[in-house]
């Protein structure tokens, strides 16, 4: 009998643990992802989310690519000390208070205004998202639903980029080729008959990173797998963090 009870209790414990793992319990006054999506722009939001990557800290602010199990939140110029910025490693759980805004189609959380910056506090918890394969969604409205998420594109082709002088190249420093090593690095990919411009954002992945160095070896016609964050600028404009040349 004791063994049976012990077994039942163990099963209940396991079930509870699994449930807890599957759901992301939100603290009091914190929005679920669905509530965040439904919130109007220019309204104050409070979310709990997990850091997936950060841009380099600058001038008392940091920009964070974050995600929970339900969706992603792009956190733009969040007030942050240089010391706290070091704590924002991938997986770190944070509670963020700010204003939901939209900039050229990119939905983000930012400062309410000049006197009320967006803020965060670190909480207990850890989650690192797996890259969602969105290759089949390219060119469809479905892609929009995964804005800012950590995603992958499999077997896409490198297309020529054309600089402001009309020269073709596999990649450009800045959108028109006006930059140099250290600038944002842009390249075009095609899949499902559509061409997209993606970039290595210099403050997310600087020239010392593998992805930046790999991008410099790209050739037109290469087949590649990509991982990155589904950033938006007048349409999908992913920020790439990993390139695997096939």
């Amino acid at each position: 009998m004791k063994k049976a009870i012990a077994l039942v209790l163990s099963l209940i414990l396991c079930a509870c643990t699994l449930t807890a793992c599957g759901e992301d319990t939100k603290g009091e006054g914190v929005m679920t992802y669905a509530e965040y999506v439904a919130a109007p722009t220019d309204s104050q939001v409070v979310v709990e989310t997990y850091v997936q990557a950060t841009r380099s800290w600058w001038d008392g602010k940091i920009t964070i690519y974050s995600q929970d199990k339900d969706g992603a939140y792009f956190l733009y110029d969040i007030s942050c000390s240089e010391e706290d910025a070091k704590k924002l490693v991938p997986g770190t759980k944070i509670k963020v208070t700010g204003m939901k805004t939209e900039w050229e189609g990119e939905v983000e959380i930012a400062a309410q205004d000049e006197l009320n910056p967006a803020t965060f506090e670190i909480e207990d918890g850890n989650y690192v998202a797996e890259a969602l394969d969105v290759t089949s969604m390219l060119g469809t409205a479905e892609l929009d639903k995964h804005q800012n998420e950590f995603v992958s594109f499999k077997g896409v082709t490198i297309e020529a980029s054309t600089d402001a002088d009309g020269n073709e190249a596999p990649f450009l420093y800045n959108w028109d080729g006006s930059g140099e090593e250290g600038s944002d690095l842009y390249f075009n990919i095609s899949a499902n008959g559509q061409t997209y411009t993606v970039l290595i954002q210099r403050y997310l992945c600087d020239p010392t990173t593998d992805v930046y160095q790999t991008a410099k070896t790209l050739q037109i016609g290469d087949t590649v797998d990509l991982e990155g964050f589904l950033y938006w600028y007048n349409g999908a404009n992913p920020h790439i963090t990993k390139i695997t040349i096939k």
Binding site: D42, E114, L115, D165, W175, D176, S178, E180, N234, G235
Partner: protein, 529 residues
């Protein structure tokens, strides 16, 4: 004897301690070498800024290659930025590590902050007039402009506390880019000079919607009739036009005044209705103008290649661009008969180094940036104007202007109109006073507009009480209440306060007394022996 030595040592130490109170010596003051040492190689760094415009990068690269061909012992390493703020922050960081660049594109406001250190920025008064290496000097290997061939207003902008610390490089102003079709559709004609009253009136009229919730004017869901890129400039320009206070030349802050309040209340009304917004809130004015989602867009003349249906540069897809006639006008004015528009655009400063030869090499390159090829070449990339009369009066520049509208690239009509606007209004441009902290004041000016606009959009009433609190918070946010005007330059401080005079007199008397007692006691000792 030992006592004498001890006394002298104490005296010397005291003097050294006192002299130490005046701060670290820093770099030696730059003095122009008699000869440029061509037998030694110099490597100089040039921090440049472009508007994410490849044509500008090409001009810089060609300038460097041509210069290096003339001076084979000078190598110029360029680092490109697309943001003045980043340059400013990087310079500040590098001042502390003594790794400033040699030559740097910058704004006078920023230079005033760099000058907080000792001999950080090289003064140019002496070298500009040097017979050999000065502007168009006898030993210069290229056709440089003389000092009289630099537009005087622009050269003056580089004068900080009675000394030149930069040379102008390019100049632009702001322009009002208008969708003429929309203005006409609303029943108006565009006047030669648009007033603030006119722009707000037409903008409100553009907010009318049909039964579907679309705007009547464009039959779209989005319409921001009036959008301003630089809200710093918006506030500053209005205050200049309305004779409202901004700051005095020596750094007294005057921006928080009734004229400012009246304007902010007006802005808040149109922000609340949605008739006005800013770049920071909504995005690039050009994107809205070109998509038929704006009537009035204010941006730099150096952004003219992005404005209009046929703009050579665009951030939005071709199918989103509508066809319309673009008219270029001065920014809105308070008094149409007394135009005021801001003078902006990059200048070039030179950082001081241990080796004056290195500074001279930097000066030679800086001077090269004022030659006609560079001035005309760079000005053609956007709605910039050359800063030298030598370039402006050249046949090459005349030809460039005469070909306005003949193509949609180099001679793109909107860009050429923007250029003409500045050429014809050089006398109507102004700059704000430069002092240590003027960059913060400029930020505060923009913050006022942004804060009021965002608050009004959220339904908050912008009244005197709101503004009174905002002024206090913004003054604190930008540390305007802690401005320190210490600089590398000696400042005229006027007469010492009487308490200081008394204290110093007492100190002198006490020291003299002590020395006298000491000497007398020694003499007495000698006599006794």
């Amino acid at each position: 004897m030992k006592k004498y030595l001890l006394f002298i040592c104490i005296l010397v130490c005291s003097l050294l301690t006192l002299s130490g109170c005046h701060g670290s010596a820093g770099l030696p003051q730059f003095e122009v070498p008699e000869e440029f040492d061509t037998g030694k190689n110099y490597e100089i760094t040039f921090w440049a800024k472009n508007d994410t415009n490849k044509a500008q990068t090409n001009v810089y690269k060609k300038a460097i290659a041509d210069f290096e061909a003339l001076y084979p012992n000078i190598k110029v390493n360029m680092r490109l930025y697309t943001d003045y703020g980043r340059i400013y922050n990087d310079v500040i960081t590098n001042i502390s590590t003594k790794t400033t660049p040699n030559v740097c594109i910058t704004y006078p406001d920023h230079i005033a902050t760099y000058m907080t250190g000792v001999n950080i920025v090289a003064p140019l008064d002496e070298i500009m007039l040097d017979p050999k290496y000065g502007l168009a000097g006898s030993d210069i290997k290229f056709d440089a402009p003389t000092i009289d061939e630099i537009v005087p207003e622009y050269l003056n902008e580089c004068r900080i506390r009675d000394h030149y610390y930069a040379l102008p490089y390019m100049r632009s102003t702001e322009a009002l880019y208008i969708n003429e079709d929309f203005v006409n559709a609303l029943g108006y004609e565009i006047p030669e000079v648009v007033t603030w009253d006119f722009i707000f009136e037409v903008s409100e009229k553009a907010m009318a919607k049909n039964n579907d919730g679309n705007y009547l004017l464009n039959n779209q869901k989005v319409m921001i009739p009036f959008i301003y890129k630089s809200t710093d400039n918006m506030m500053i320009s209005y205050l200049k036009q309305a004779n409202g206070g901004y700051s005095t030349s020596d750094g007294k802050i005057e921006i928080f005044n009734d004229t400012t309040s009246d304007f902010l209340k007006e802005v808040s009304i149109h922000a609340a209705s949605g008739a006005f917004s800013t770049f920071k809130i909504s995005s690039y004015p050009a994107n809205f103008l070109n998509a038929g989602q704006s009537v009035f867009a204010i941006d730099s003349t150096a952004g003219a290649t992005w404005m209009g249906s046929k703009a050579p540069n665009s951030d939005i897809s071709a199918e989103d661009i509508i066809d319309f006639n673009t008219v270029v006008r001065p920014i809105p004015q308070v008094d149409p008969n007394n135009l005021k528009m801001i003078s902006q655009g990059p200048s070039v400063c030179i950082f001081n180094k241990e080796d004056p030869q290195e500074v001279l090499a930097s000066w030679l390159f800086t001077q090269y940036l004022l030659t006609n090829d560079i001035q005309i070449g760079y000005s053609q990339t956007e709605g910039y104007t050359p800063v030298t009369l030598k370039a402006r009066k050249s046949s090459e520049y005349d030809e460039y202007l005469s070909l306005s509208g003949t193509d949609d690239k180099v001679h793109y009509e909107v860009k050429m109109e923007a250029t003409r606007l500045l050429l014809e209004n050089t006398d109507n441009t102004f700059v704000t006073p430069v002092f240590n902290g003027s960059a913060s004041l400029r930020d505060a000016a923009g913050t006022l507009i942004e804060y009021v606009t965002k608050s009004a959009r959220r339904g908050i009433t912008v009244d005197d009480s709101f503004l009174s609190n905002a002024y206090k918070d913004i003054e604190s946010l930008h540390k305007l209440d802690q401005l320190n005007t210490n600089t590398q330059e000696k400042k005229e401080l006027g007469e010492l306060p009487s308490t200081s005079v008394t204290l110093i007199t007492i100190l002198i008397v006490v020291w003299c007394g002590l020395i006298a007692i000491f000497i007398l006691s020694k003499l007495k000792e000698k006599k006794q022996k």
